[in-house]
Protein backbone atom coordinates (compact mmCIF):
# COMPACT_ATOMS: atom_id res chain seq x y z
CA UNK A 1 0.00 0.00 0.00
CA UNK A 2 2.55 2.47 1.12
CA UNK A 3 5.36 1.13 -0.95
CA UNK A 4 4.58 2.65 -4.31
CA UNK A 5 4.00 6.27 -3.36
CA UNK A 6 6.88 6.37 -0.94
CA UNK A 7 9.19 4.96 -3.56
CA UNK A 8 8.15 7.59 -6.08
CA UNK A 9 8.69 10.16 -3.43
CA UNK A 10 12.19 9.03 -2.69
CA UNK A 11 12.83 8.79 -6.38
CA UNK A 12 11.83 12.39 -6.99
CA UNK A 13 13.81 13.59 -4.05
CA UNK A 14 16.80 11.61 -5.27
CA UNK A 15 16.41 13.14 -8.70
CA UNK A 16 16.18 16.54 -7.11
CA UNK A 17 19.26 15.91 -5.04
CA UNK A 18 21.12 14.73 -8.11
CA UNK A 19 20.03 17.80 -10.04
CA UNK A 20 21.27 19.97 -7.21
CA UNK A 21 24.59 18.20 -7.20
CA UNK A 22 24.83 18.61 -10.95
CA UNK A 23 24.13 22.29 -10.71
CA UNK A 24 26.77 22.60 -8.03
CA UNK A 25 29.32 20.74 -10.10
CA UNK A 26 28.40 22.81 -13.13
CA UNK A 27 28.99 25.93 -11.12
CA UNK A 28 32.35 24.68 -9.99
CA UNK A 29 33.36 23.81 -13.53
CA UNK A 30 32.48 27.25 -14.77
CA UNK A 31 34.37 28.76 -11.90
CA UNK A 32 37.42 26.65 -12.63
CA UNK A 33 37.49 28.12 -16.10
CA UNK A 34 37.55 31.60 -14.74
CA UNK A 35 39.76 30.88 -11.77
CA UNK A 36 42.23 33.48 -12.93
CA UNK A 37 39.70 36.23 -13.05
CA UNK A 38 38.49 35.11 -9.63
CA UNK A 39 41.93 35.36 -8.13
CA UNK A 40 42.53 38.71 -9.69
CA UNK A 41 39.54 40.26 -8.00
CA UNK A 42 38.06 38.23 -5.23
CA UNK A 43 35.14 40.07 -3.72
CA UNK A 44 35.67 43.56 -5.02
CA UNK A 45 34.98 46.22 -2.46
CA UNK A 46 31.33 47.18 -2.76
CA UNK A 47 31.81 50.79 -3.46
CA UNK A 48 34.39 52.35 -5.65
CA UNK A 49 38.06 52.23 -6.18
CA UNK A 50 41.03 53.62 -7.93
CA UNK A 51 41.98 55.07 -11.28
CA UNK A 52 40.28 55.24 -14.59
CA UNK A 53 38.95 52.32 -16.54
CA UNK A 54 36.34 52.80 -19.23
CA UNK A 55 33.86 55.50 -18.44
CA UNK A 56 30.27 54.55 -17.87
CA UNK A 57 28.71 57.96 -17.71
CA UNK A 58 28.54 57.89 -21.51
CA UNK A 59 26.52 54.69 -21.43
CA UNK A 60 24.07 55.98 -18.90
CA UNK A 61 23.23 58.79 -21.28
CA UNK A 62 22.74 56.58 -24.36
CA UNK A 63 19.09 57.26 -24.94
CA UNK A 64 18.05 57.09 -28.60
CA UNK A 65 14.45 56.31 -27.62
CA UNK A 66 14.12 59.44 -25.52
CA UNK A 67 10.81 60.49 -27.11
CA UNK A 68 9.11 57.24 -26.20
CA UNK A 69 10.89 57.06 -22.86
CA UNK A 70 9.82 60.52 -21.75
CA UNK A 71 6.24 59.69 -22.61
CA UNK A 72 6.47 56.42 -20.77
CA UNK A 73 8.05 58.16 -17.81
CA UNK A 74 5.32 60.77 -17.64
CA UNK A 75 2.62 58.13 -17.88
CA UNK A 76 4.20 55.92 -15.23
CA UNK A 77 4.73 58.76 -12.78
CA UNK A 78 1.12 59.81 -13.22
CA UNK A 79 0.02 56.28 -12.50
CA UNK A 80 2.33 56.18 -9.50
CA UNK A 81 0.80 59.35 -8.13
CA UNK A 82 -2.71 57.99 -8.65
CA UNK A 83 -2.28 54.43 -7.43
CA UNK A 84 1.01 53.13 -6.15
CA UNK A 85 2.11 56.10 -4.10
CA UNK A 86 -1.14 56.34 -2.11
CA UNK A 87 -1.01 52.60 -1.48
CA UNK A 88 2.63 52.72 -0.40
CA UNK A 89 2.10 55.79 1.78
CA UNK A 90 -0.93 54.15 3.37
CA UNK A 91 1.14 51.07 4.05
CA UNK A 92 3.89 53.21 5.57
CA UNK A 93 1.35 55.11 7.66
CA UNK A 94 -0.20 52.06 9.27
CA UNK A 95 2.96 49.99 9.82
CA UNK A 96 5.96 50.84 11.99
CA UNK A 97 9.27 50.61 10.16
CA UNK A 98 10.53 47.61 12.20
CA UNK A 99 7.56 45.66 10.89
CA UNK A 100 8.15 46.85 7.34
CA UNK A 101 11.74 45.69 7.63
CA UNK A 102 10.52 42.18 8.47
CA UNK A 103 8.26 42.23 5.40
CA UNK A 104 11.20 43.35 3.26
CA UNK A 105 13.26 40.54 4.73
CA UNK A 106 10.70 37.91 3.75
CA UNK A 107 10.46 39.31 0.22
CA UNK A 108 14.24 39.45 -0.02
CA UNK A 109 14.64 35.89 1.23
CA UNK A 110 12.37 34.60 -1.53
CA UNK A 111 14.68 36.21 -4.07
CA UNK A 112 17.73 34.44 -2.69
CA UNK A 113 17.44 31.27 -4.86
CA UNK A 114 17.36 33.42 -7.98
CA UNK A 115 20.54 35.08 -6.73
CA UNK A 116 22.11 31.64 -6.36
CA UNK A 117 21.17 30.72 -9.94
CA UNK A 118 22.96 33.81 -11.21
CA UNK A 119 25.94 33.35 -8.90
CA UNK A 120 26.40 29.93 -10.47
CA UNK A 121 25.97 31.26 -13.99
CA UNK A 122 28.56 33.89 -13.21
CA UNK A 123 30.97 31.21 -12.05
CA UNK A 124 31.10 32.46 -8.50
CA UNK A 125 30.79 29.38 -6.27
CA UNK A 126 31.56 31.22 -3.06
CA UNK A 127 28.80 33.70 -3.65
CA UNK A 128 26.49 30.85 -4.67
CA UNK A 129 27.39 29.05 -1.47
CA UNK A 130 26.71 32.13 0.53
CA UNK A 131 23.31 32.93 -1.00
CA UNK A 132 22.11 29.33 -0.81
CA UNK A 133 23.31 28.95 2.78
CA UNK A 134 21.56 32.20 3.57
CA UNK A 135 18.34 30.90 2.05
CA UNK A 136 18.50 27.64 3.97
CA UNK A 137 19.35 29.25 7.27
CA UNK A 138 16.97 32.20 7.04
CA UNK A 139 14.08 30.08 5.79
CA UNK A 140 14.43 27.69 8.71
CA UNK A 141 16.08 29.27 11.73
CA UNK A 142 15.04 32.70 10.50
CA UNK A 143 11.41 31.55 10.19
CA UNK A 144 10.53 31.97 6.51
CA UNK A 145 13.02 34.76 6.16
CA UNK A 146 11.49 37.05 8.76
CA UNK A 147 14.78 37.25 10.59
CA UNK A 148 18.07 37.51 8.76
CA UNK A 149 20.06 35.35 11.13
CA UNK A 150 22.57 34.46 8.41
CA UNK A 151 24.04 37.97 8.39
CA UNK A 152 24.72 37.56 12.08
CA UNK A 153 26.66 34.40 11.22
CA UNK A 154 28.85 36.39 8.88
CA UNK A 155 26.95 35.45 5.72
CA UNK A 156 26.34 38.88 4.30
CA UNK A 157 23.68 39.40 1.67
CA UNK A 158 24.46 40.20 -1.92
CA UNK A 159 22.30 40.49 -5.01
CA UNK A 160 22.60 38.98 -8.46
CA UNK A 161 20.32 38.98 -11.48
CA UNK A 162 20.48 38.19 -15.16
CA UNK A 163 21.33 41.76 -16.11
CA UNK A 164 24.39 41.47 -13.89
CA UNK A 165 25.21 38.05 -15.30
CA UNK A 166 25.14 39.48 -18.83
CA UNK A 167 27.25 42.40 -17.70
CA UNK A 168 29.73 40.08 -16.06
CA UNK A 169 30.36 38.53 -19.48
CA UNK A 170 30.78 41.90 -21.12
CA UNK A 171 27.31 42.68 -22.45
CA UNK A 172 26.81 46.44 -22.69
CA UNK A 173 23.58 48.02 -21.41
CA UNK A 174 22.41 49.19 -24.83
CA UNK A 175 19.74 51.87 -25.22
CA UNK A 176 18.01 53.19 -22.11
CA UNK A 177 14.43 52.08 -21.81
CA UNK A 178 11.72 53.37 -19.51
CA UNK A 179 9.29 50.47 -19.33
CA UNK A 180 5.77 51.74 -18.60
CA UNK A 181 4.75 51.02 -14.99
CA UNK A 182 7.81 48.85 -14.36
CA UNK A 183 10.37 51.63 -14.49
CA UNK A 184 13.86 52.42 -15.73
CA UNK A 185 15.79 49.76 -17.58
CA UNK A 186 17.86 49.21 -20.68
CA UNK A 187 18.00 46.52 -23.35
CA UNK A 188 20.38 44.28 -21.41
CA UNK A 189 18.61 44.55 -18.08
CA UNK A 190 15.18 44.34 -19.69
CA UNK A 191 16.00 40.98 -21.25
CA UNK A 192 17.56 40.09 -17.92
CA UNK A 193 14.35 40.83 -16.08
CA UNK A 194 12.35 38.58 -18.36
CA UNK A 195 14.86 35.77 -17.79
CA UNK A 196 14.83 36.46 -14.06
CA UNK A 197 11.10 35.88 -14.09
CA UNK A 198 11.26 32.58 -15.96
CA UNK A 199 14.24 31.16 -14.08
CA UNK A 200 13.24 32.20 -10.57
CA UNK A 201 13.22 28.92 -8.61
CA UNK A 202 10.69 30.25 -6.11
CA UNK A 203 8.45 31.37 -8.96
CA UNK A 204 8.71 27.97 -10.63
CA UNK A 205 7.93 26.08 -7.44
CA UNK A 206 5.25 28.55 -6.41
CA UNK A 207 3.55 28.35 -9.80
CA UNK A 208 3.98 31.80 -11.31
CA UNK A 209 1.71 34.73 -10.59
CA UNK A 210 -1.52 32.79 -11.05
CA UNK A 211 -1.42 31.00 -7.72
CA UNK A 212 -2.45 32.61 -4.46
CA UNK A 213 1.15 32.44 -3.30
CA UNK A 214 2.48 33.95 -6.50
CA UNK A 215 -0.06 36.77 -6.60
CA UNK A 216 0.44 37.58 -2.92
CA UNK A 217 4.18 37.60 -3.38
CA UNK A 218 3.92 39.94 -6.36
CA UNK A 219 1.56 42.28 -4.52
CA UNK A 220 3.63 42.45 -1.35
CA UNK A 221 6.84 42.79 -3.34
CA UNK A 222 5.44 45.69 -5.35
CA UNK A 223 4.27 47.65 -2.32
CA UNK A 224 7.47 46.84 -0.42
CA UNK A 225 9.65 47.98 -3.32
CA UNK A 226 7.69 51.19 -3.76
CA UNK A 227 7.82 51.95 -0.05
CA UNK A 228 11.55 51.38 0.08
CA UNK A 229 12.04 53.56 -2.99
CA UNK A 230 10.08 56.41 -1.47
CA UNK A 231 13.13 58.51 -0.66
CA UNK A 232 14.33 58.06 -4.24
CA UNK A 233 10.98 59.22 -5.54
CA UNK A 234 11.17 62.25 -3.31
CA UNK A 235 14.64 62.99 -4.63
CA UNK A 236 13.13 63.05 -8.12
CA UNK A 237 10.69 65.74 -7.01
CA UNK A 238 13.65 67.98 -6.27
CA UNK A 239 15.31 67.49 -9.65
CA UNK A 240 15.08 70.12 -12.35
CA UNK A 241 14.76 67.39 -14.98
CA UNK A 242 13.41 64.35 -13.10
CA UNK A 243 13.47 62.15 -16.19
CA UNK A 244 17.20 62.64 -16.69
CA UNK A 245 17.88 62.35 -12.98
CA UNK A 246 16.14 58.97 -12.88
CA UNK A 247 18.02 57.84 -15.97
CA UNK A 248 21.36 58.94 -14.59
CA UNK A 249 20.78 57.38 -11.18
CA UNK A 250 19.55 54.12 -12.68
CA UNK A 251 22.51 53.88 -15.04
CA UNK A 252 25.04 54.54 -12.28
CA UNK A 253 23.32 52.14 -9.92
CA UNK A 254 23.28 49.31 -12.47
CA UNK A 255 26.86 49.86 -13.62
CA UNK A 256 28.03 49.84 -10.00
CA UNK A 257 26.10 46.62 -9.49
CA UNK A 258 27.77 45.06 -12.52
CA UNK A 259 31.20 46.22 -11.41
CA UNK A 260 30.53 44.17 -8.27
CA UNK A 261 30.56 41.10 -10.50
CA UNK A 262 33.38 42.10 -12.82
CA UNK A 263 35.65 43.65 -10.22
CA UNK A 264 36.26 46.57 -12.55
CA UNK A 265 37.02 50.01 -11.30
CA UNK A 266 34.90 53.03 -11.99
CA UNK A 267 36.14 55.86 -14.15
CA UNK A 268 35.31 59.15 -12.52
CA UNK A 269 35.22 62.66 -13.93
CA UNK A 270 37.91 65.08 -13.03
CA UNK A 271 36.59 67.81 -10.80
CA UNK A 272 39.55 70.03 -11.54
CA UNK A 273 39.29 69.88 -15.30
CA UNK A 274 35.78 71.06 -16.06
CA UNK A 275 36.47 74.54 -17.40
CA UNK A 276 38.40 74.00 -20.59
CA UNK A 277 40.66 76.99 -20.40
CA UNK A 278 42.51 78.80 -17.70
CA UNK A 279 44.81 77.49 -15.06
CA UNK A 280 42.49 78.53 -12.26
CA UNK A 281 40.69 75.40 -11.22
CA UNK A 282 37.34 76.86 -10.48
CA UNK A 283 37.64 80.44 -11.57
CA UNK A 284 34.86 82.92 -11.95
CA UNK A 285 33.13 84.94 -9.35
CA UNK A 286 33.63 82.35 -6.66
CA UNK A 287 36.78 82.47 -4.59
CA UNK A 288 39.04 80.43 -6.83
CA UNK A 289 39.74 76.81 -5.99
CA UNK A 290 39.65 75.39 -2.54
CA UNK A 291 40.91 77.93 -0.09
CA UNK A 292 42.64 75.40 2.09
CA UNK A 293 41.08 75.79 5.42
CA UNK A 294 43.79 76.92 7.77
CA UNK A 295 44.88 73.54 8.92
CA UNK A 296 42.28 71.98 11.18
CA UNK A 297 43.57 71.33 14.61
CA UNK A 298 45.23 67.92 14.63
CA UNK A 299 43.57 67.24 17.94
CA UNK A 300 40.23 66.72 16.20
CA UNK A 301 38.96 63.39 17.26
CA UNK A 302 36.50 61.03 15.75
CA UNK A 303 33.62 59.93 17.86
Amino acid sequence: MNGAPSRTLTKTSRVRARTLALIAVGGLAVSAASAHAQNAAVEPPPLVAAPAATGDSVDTAYDPLQGFNRGSYGFSMGLDRAVLRPVAHGYMAVTPSPLRRRVSAVVYNLGEPSTTVNDILQGKPKRAGRSSARFLINSTIGVLGIWDVATGMGLKAHDADFGQTFGRYGVRPGPYLYVPVIGPSNFRDGVGRVLDFFTDPVGIVGGGYTTTFGATRLGVQTVDTRARADTAFRALDDATDPYVTARSAYGQYREAFIREATGQVQALPDFDAVPADGAAVSGGAEPASAPPETAPAPSEQSQ
Binding site: A21, L47, A49, S97, Y253, A285
Partner: protein, 215 residues
Protein backbone atom coordinates in the same frame (compact mmCIF):
# COMPACT_ATOMS: atom_id res chain seq x y z
CA UNK B 1 12.14 2.44 2.42
CA UNK B 2 15.67 1.19 2.57
CA UNK B 3 16.94 3.50 -0.12
CA UNK B 4 15.49 6.52 1.67
CA UNK B 5 18.47 6.52 4.01
CA UNK B 6 21.23 7.33 1.55
CA UNK B 7 19.10 10.10 0.11
CA UNK B 8 18.57 11.64 3.49
CA UNK B 9 22.21 11.27 4.29
CA UNK B 10 23.05 12.92 1.01
CA UNK B 11 20.72 15.76 1.79
CA UNK B 12 22.30 16.18 5.21
CA UNK B 13 25.76 16.12 3.68
CA UNK B 14 24.73 18.64 1.09
CA UNK B 15 23.37 20.89 3.80
CA UNK B 16 26.54 20.65 5.81
CA UNK B 17 28.61 21.23 2.70
CA UNK B 18 26.57 24.27 1.77
CA UNK B 19 26.85 25.80 5.20
CA UNK B 20 30.53 24.97 5.22
CA UNK B 21 30.90 26.66 1.87
CA UNK B 22 29.11 29.66 3.25
CA UNK B 23 31.38 29.75 6.26
CA UNK B 24 34.44 29.42 4.03
CA UNK B 25 33.39 32.27 1.84
CA UNK B 26 33.43 34.72 4.70
CA UNK B 27 37.08 34.05 5.37
CA UNK B 28 37.93 36.30 2.49
CA UNK B 29 41.57 36.69 1.57
CA UNK B 30 43.02 40.08 2.31
CA UNK B 31 42.30 42.35 -0.61
CA UNK B 32 45.21 43.40 -2.68
CA UNK B 33 45.10 46.61 -0.74
CA UNK B 34 45.28 49.81 -2.69
CA UNK B 35 46.82 52.60 -0.69
CA UNK B 36 44.63 54.16 1.95
CA UNK B 37 44.82 57.73 3.09
CA UNK B 38 44.43 58.00 6.87
CA UNK B 39 44.23 61.79 6.83
CA UNK B 40 41.42 61.85 4.28
CA UNK B 41 39.67 59.19 6.35
CA UNK B 42 40.10 61.26 9.47
CA UNK B 43 38.68 64.30 7.70
CA UNK B 44 35.53 62.46 6.62
CA UNK B 45 35.13 60.82 10.00
CA UNK B 46 35.18 64.15 11.78
CA UNK B 47 33.44 66.50 9.38
CA UNK B 48 30.81 64.20 7.91
CA UNK B 49 29.97 62.88 11.36
CA UNK B 50 29.43 66.44 12.49
CA UNK B 51 26.90 67.10 9.74
CA UNK B 52 25.07 63.87 10.49
CA UNK B 53 25.04 64.62 14.20
CA UNK B 54 23.54 68.04 13.56
CA UNK B 55 20.78 66.65 11.39
CA UNK B 56 19.98 63.83 13.80
CA UNK B 57 19.79 66.15 16.79
CA UNK B 58 16.22 66.02 18.01
CA UNK B 59 16.72 68.98 20.34
CA UNK B 60 17.32 71.45 17.55
CA UNK B 61 14.58 73.19 15.63
CA UNK B 62 14.48 72.97 11.86
CA UNK B 63 15.67 76.58 11.61
CA UNK B 64 18.58 75.87 13.95
CA UNK B 65 19.53 72.82 11.96
CA UNK B 66 19.40 74.84 8.77
CA UNK B 67 21.78 77.40 10.18
CA UNK B 68 24.22 74.83 11.53
CA UNK B 69 24.06 72.84 8.31
CA UNK B 70 24.83 76.00 6.35
CA UNK B 71 28.03 76.45 8.36
CA UNK B 72 29.03 72.82 8.46
CA UNK B 73 28.77 72.52 4.69
CA UNK B 74 31.60 74.99 4.11
CA UNK B 75 33.87 72.96 6.32
CA UNK B 76 32.87 69.69 4.69
CA UNK B 77 32.41 70.42 1.00
CA UNK B 78 34.26 72.29 -1.70
CA UNK B 79 31.26 74.37 -2.71
CA UNK B 80 32.98 76.40 -5.48
CA UNK B 81 34.32 73.27 -7.16
CA UNK B 82 30.98 71.50 -6.97
CA UNK B 83 29.16 74.58 -8.25
CA UNK B 84 31.42 74.63 -11.25
CA UNK B 85 31.22 70.89 -11.83
CA UNK B 86 27.45 70.62 -11.89
CA UNK B 87 27.32 73.13 -14.76
CA UNK B 88 29.13 70.60 -16.93
CA UNK B 89 29.91 71.91 -20.40
CA UNK B 90 28.10 75.15 -19.59
CA UNK B 91 30.80 76.03 -17.06
CA UNK B 92 32.76 77.16 -20.10
CA UNK B 93 30.15 79.50 -21.54
CA UNK B 94 28.48 80.90 -18.44
CA UNK B 95 28.92 84.67 -18.04
CA UNK B 96 30.40 85.99 -14.78
CA UNK B 97 27.04 87.50 -13.90
CA UNK B 98 25.19 84.25 -14.54
CA UNK B 99 27.80 82.33 -12.61
CA UNK B 100 27.30 84.53 -9.61
CA UNK B 101 23.53 84.18 -9.70
CA UNK B 102 23.78 80.46 -10.33
CA UNK B 103 26.19 80.01 -7.41
CA UNK B 104 23.79 81.78 -5.08
CA UNK B 105 20.72 79.87 -6.29
CA UNK B 106 22.51 76.51 -6.31
CA UNK B 107 23.78 77.04 -2.80
CA UNK B 108 20.32 77.61 -1.37
CA UNK B 109 18.81 74.83 -3.46
CA UNK B 110 21.52 72.31 -2.59
CA UNK B 111 21.38 73.07 1.10
CA UNK B 112 17.66 72.50 1.30
CA UNK B 113 17.72 69.44 -0.95
CA UNK B 114 20.67 67.73 0.72
CA UNK B 115 19.42 68.52 4.17
CA UNK B 116 16.19 66.74 3.23
CA UNK B 117 18.06 63.89 1.64
CA UNK B 118 20.37 63.24 4.57
CA UNK B 119 17.54 63.64 7.07
CA UNK B 120 15.46 61.12 5.13
CA UNK B 121 17.79 58.38 6.28
CA UNK B 122 17.85 59.35 9.94
CA UNK B 123 21.40 58.09 10.32
CA UNK B 124 23.34 58.84 13.46
CA UNK B 125 26.76 57.23 13.44
CA UNK B 126 29.30 57.37 10.66
CA UNK B 127 32.09 54.84 10.54
CA UNK B 128 34.97 54.91 8.09
CA UNK B 129 35.54 51.45 6.63
CA UNK B 130 38.42 52.25 4.32
CA UNK B 131 39.64 54.44 1.52
CA UNK B 132 41.18 54.26 -1.92
CA UNK B 133 43.67 56.74 -3.29
CA UNK B 134 42.69 57.31 -6.93
CA UNK B 135 45.72 59.54 -7.31
CA UNK B 136 47.49 61.69 -4.75
CA UNK B 137 45.02 64.23 -3.45
CA UNK B 138 41.98 62.42 -4.89
CA UNK B 139 40.64 59.88 -2.44
CA UNK B 140 37.45 57.90 -2.03
CA UNK B 141 36.60 57.30 1.60
CA UNK B 142 34.18 54.46 2.25
CA UNK B 143 31.91 54.71 5.25
CA UNK B 144 28.81 53.19 6.70
CA UNK B 145 26.07 55.16 8.36
CA UNK B 146 23.94 53.47 10.98
CA UNK B 147 21.71 54.09 13.95
CA UNK B 148 18.43 55.91 14.04
CA UNK B 149 15.87 54.20 11.88
CA UNK B 150 18.42 52.53 9.61
CA UNK B 151 18.03 48.76 9.63
CA UNK B 152 21.38 47.78 8.25
CA UNK B 153 24.45 49.99 8.05
CA UNK B 154 24.21 52.08 4.90
CA UNK B 155 27.36 52.23 2.77
CA UNK B 156 28.19 55.76 1.65
CA UNK B 157 31.35 56.81 -0.19
CA UNK B 158 32.84 60.29 -0.10
CA UNK B 159 35.13 61.61 -2.79
CA UNK B 160 37.55 64.05 -1.20
CA UNK B 161 40.18 66.25 -2.81
CA UNK B 162 43.04 67.93 -1.05
CA UNK B 163 46.14 66.84 0.83
CA UNK B 164 47.77 66.73 4.21
CA UNK B 165 45.21 67.76 6.76
CA UNK B 166 43.24 69.91 4.34
CA UNK B 167 40.48 68.11 2.50
CA UNK B 168 37.11 68.86 0.98
CA UNK B 169 34.30 66.62 -0.21
CA UNK B 170 33.32 67.04 -3.86
CA UNK B 171 30.91 64.13 -4.29
CA UNK B 172 28.95 61.55 -2.31
CA UNK B 173 28.00 58.09 -3.49
CA UNK B 174 25.12 56.01 -2.28
CA UNK B 175 23.99 52.76 -3.91
CA UNK B 176 26.36 53.37 -6.77
CA UNK B 177 24.91 56.79 -7.51
CA UNK B 178 27.13 59.86 -7.27
CA UNK B 179 25.20 62.97 -6.27
CA UNK B 180 27.24 65.60 -8.12
CA UNK B 181 27.45 63.52 -11.30
CA UNK B 182 23.69 63.03 -11.25
CA UNK B 183 23.18 66.70 -10.50
CA UNK B 184 25.36 67.63 -13.45
CA UNK B 185 23.36 65.48 -15.87
CA UNK B 186 20.15 66.92 -14.44
CA UNK B 187 21.29 70.53 -14.84
CA UNK B 188 22.93 70.13 -18.22
CA UNK B 189 19.77 68.50 -19.58
CA UNK B 190 17.64 71.31 -18.18
CA UNK B 191 19.85 73.92 -19.84
CA UNK B 192 19.91 71.89 -23.08
CA UNK B 193 16.13 71.76 -23.12
CA UNK B 194 16.01 75.52 -22.61
CA UNK B 195 18.10 75.99 -25.73
CA UNK B 196 21.26 76.64 -23.77
CA UNK B 197 19.76 79.36 -21.60
CA UNK B 198 21.26 79.05 -18.13
CA UNK B 199 18.85 81.63 -16.73
CA UNK B 200 16.02 79.12 -17.07
CA UNK B 201 17.85 76.74 -14.73
CA UNK B 202 18.63 79.54 -12.30
CA UNK B 203 15.01 80.60 -11.99
CA UNK B 204 13.89 77.01 -11.65
CA UNK B 205 16.34 76.49 -8.78
CA UNK B 206 15.11 79.64 -7.11
CA UNK B 207 11.55 78.39 -7.39
CA UNK B 208 12.40 74.92 -6.08
CA UNK B 209 14.28 76.25 -3.09
CA UNK B 210 11.21 78.12 -1.95
CA UNK B 211 9.11 75.03 -1.64
CA UNK B 212 8.44 73.82 1.91
CA UNK B 213 11.26 71.71 3.27
CA UNK B 214 9.32 68.73 4.48
CA UNK B 215 6.79 67.00 2.32
Amino acid sequence: MTDARPTRRFAQLALVALIGLGALSQARPALAQAARDPQAEQFVQTRAQRVITVLADKNQSIAQKKATFHQAIDQLADVPKITNFVLGKYARTVTPDQRQRFAAAFRVYAESVYQNRISDYHGEVLKVTGSTVRKPGDVIVNTTISGGQIGQPLPVAWRVLGGGTSWKVVDIQFKGVWLAITQQQDFVSTIDNAGGNIDVLISQLQRDAQRPASR
